[in-house]
Symmetry: C2
Subunit: 154 residues, 2 copies
């Protein structure tokens, strides 16, 4: 075999292939989501598999996961070695469960809406949404619980 000549991808190439801004990729590195090599001169040298990593970051972001949560999820991938098919499959399976939970939650809310808001009572202390631990309900230092007024009037 010949020596490996692939010098890695530059940040601009990664940006082009993922659609991320160069500054975002640098930010993600600062947050530990990717750990590119460096050339002798100091420029970042990304592996091709980093495109996949960053794609995952984008998807998870879109689903409302925070950087910290994504970092945790990515921690199950190998640091040094290129992730294998089964590395990704495992991550995917974990993710699928989160999605399942979130879908179930939204469906619960949807039917609640008909029952609570739709009927005009909006007494949501029993609402499945707010009794869950979903992160979406925990943004910032926001609302912790939710009480409706008593049904009937107003």
């Amino acid at each position: 075999m010949k020596a490996l000549r692939t010098r890695g991808l530059g940040i601009g190439q990664i940006a082009a292939r993922t659609g991320l801004a160069v500054s975002a990729i640098r930010y993600y590195e600062s947050e530990g989501l990717v750990t590119p090599d460096r050339s002798p001169g100091g420029t970042r040298q990304f592996a091709r598999s980093d495109i996949r990593r960053l794609s995952f970051v984008m998807i998870a972001q879109g689903l409302g996961f925070s950087i910290a949560e994504i970092r945790t999820a990515l921690a199950s991938l190998p640091d040094k070695r290129t992730p294998t098919k089964s590395d990704w499959a495992r991550l995917s399976e974990d993710f699928r469960q989160v999605l399942d939970a979130r879908i179930a939650q939204m469906q619960a809310l949807r039917s609640r809406l008909d029952g609570c808001i739709g009927c005009g009572c909006l007494s949501l202390d029993t609402c499945a949404l707010y009794n869950s631990e979903d992160r979406a309900a925990q943004r910032g230092a926001g609302p912790r619980y939710l009480m409706g007024e008593s049904p009937g009037v107003d």
Copy 2:
């Protein structure tokens, strides 16, 4: 009929009943999500129906809607008059459609995950998630599109 003696609820009472922080409620007022009356002395006098309004804000927040989007949704409610059952029902119906769309999107992603990430290719240029217009995929000035590397290697 007797004159209406209900002097409205104070911000502290609203906070207690919704679980929101007093500061958050004031912030929501500054954003136009609620428009309480004022007492002669200047303190806010909320209607009982404002609890419902704020509950809606909290739910929508939990689902990832921005203040601006929530303001738009709430615009369909009467400003002066107390919202009726059918006012809320209409709002609820609109909301239900958004939820339906979002649920469908997540389900699409879930099956994509098995097909794309699960298999190790992660070529998501055809992914339903990123071809949608959902707000969740538009946070900040982030990612616009998503390209995977060609399947097979890595």
